[in-house]
Symmetry: C2
Subunit: 224 residues, 2 copies
């Protein structure tokens, strides 16, 4: 499958490299073609890896991943272009972190809205699926780094899009029963507002290689 | 131990009854003495159960529990009185939910502040410990309702206060290694902003009898 990855940072590179290893063709997008990090990545990984502008990557992908910094995502997606993205699945893994006021970061949007919802409103013809933002990049593509069963969340308005994304999550190694569909894109507020908790867990445990397992009293979990 | 429980709702009644069963003396506090719910509770449970004003309950307790609705907690604690609470451990289990705009609720404070921090600032002589707000009332006092190991969080500036609260959590049945100290009271932002996620998990799983287990790649968790 052809996949466009928007963003050249640690998350974008980790996802792009993992997708390549899985046999996909990947184009990394950034503000301008020839971005130093993107060129270095493409030459390093070999294989069907290319780079270009946000619009190049969005137009290339059958599926597009938003791995830009959350505070800049709406701008990056505007540059990618609504026509390049129309009808496509957009996997939004970003967190709307504001680090301008020091640590810990706050969120640029929360409580009565979320970045996932903002993106869906800005691009009504795009099938936005929020996922993977609750784990660090390494765990996104290699969940077995965290021992035992643990949960990854998905939010989106389009059921078929979520099924496509679930298939990619399974390629990364997420077991089907570890993928929890929270509902529509408005449920992205939960995983996005979880970020301060995630930062607290990192601080308390000393390891960013962490995740949570959701446990309920439902009968099918009784043996867990 | 004498414990004052502020709040007559489901959370307050559940905690107060459980503390009584554990052998503590409990006084339930509300806006005015003779509150219908508090009187009914005290007559129902028997034992060393009394009721009175917020100030009565705060003055009675060696430890005080804030189980009032989060949106009204600062007012309730002002009524309880700084002098009645001075030097005491205040276990804050409240969530700053705003249901006035419909469902899902939003938070009255979040992102760059939390209710736990607001309470600590309002009552600098009180040893505030935020805990238990991430599970439903029934699970607070009977964690085994959720199968397997799962995690409860604690935030507070006073280490000795957290040790006292951890002892009470263990009386409720929380294993020592399930109690995760996140750090100072400023880390209460994490567990409070987790609420939209908790609501989403309830919606997705169909059960409020739920919690999360934190898993890390730390060596001592490798066998978990």
């Amino acid at each position: 499958m052809r996949i466009g990855v928007l963003g050249t940072g640690r998350v974008g590179q980790t996802l792009a490299s993992a997708l390549l290893r899985l046999g996909h063709e990947v184009r990394m997008g950034s503000r301008s073609a020839g971005n130093e990090a993107a060129v270095a990545w493409a030459s390093q990984v070999g294989g069907p890896a290319t780079e270009g502008t946000f619009a190049d990557a969005a137009g290339f992908g059958e599926i597009v991943v938003n791995a830009t910094a959350g505070a800049a995502s709406l701008q990056a997606l505007e540059a990618a272009g609504a026509e390049q993205l129309a009808g496509k699945v957009l996997i939004d893994v970003s967190n709307p972190l504001d680090t301008s006021k020091g640590m810990p970061p706050t969120l640029t949007v929360c409580n009565d809205d979320s970045l996932g919802e903002q993106i869906q409103r800005a691009l009504p013809d795009v099938r936005v699926v929020k996922t993977l933002n609750t784990v660090t990049a390494a765990v996104m593509v290699e969940p077995s780094l965290v021992p035992g069963r643990h949960t990854i969340f998905m939010s989106g308005d389009d059921a078929a899009a979520k099924a496509e994304v679930a298939a990619i999550l399974q390629e990364f190694g997420w077991p089907q029963d570890a993928i929890l569909d929270l509902g529509g894109i408005d449920t992205a507020r939960g995983p996005e507002m979880y970020l301060p908790m995630w930062i607290g867990l990192w601080g308390a445990t000393g390891s960013p290689i962490l995740n949570v397992e959701v446990r309920t009293a439902a009968p099918d979990d009784a043996a867990a």
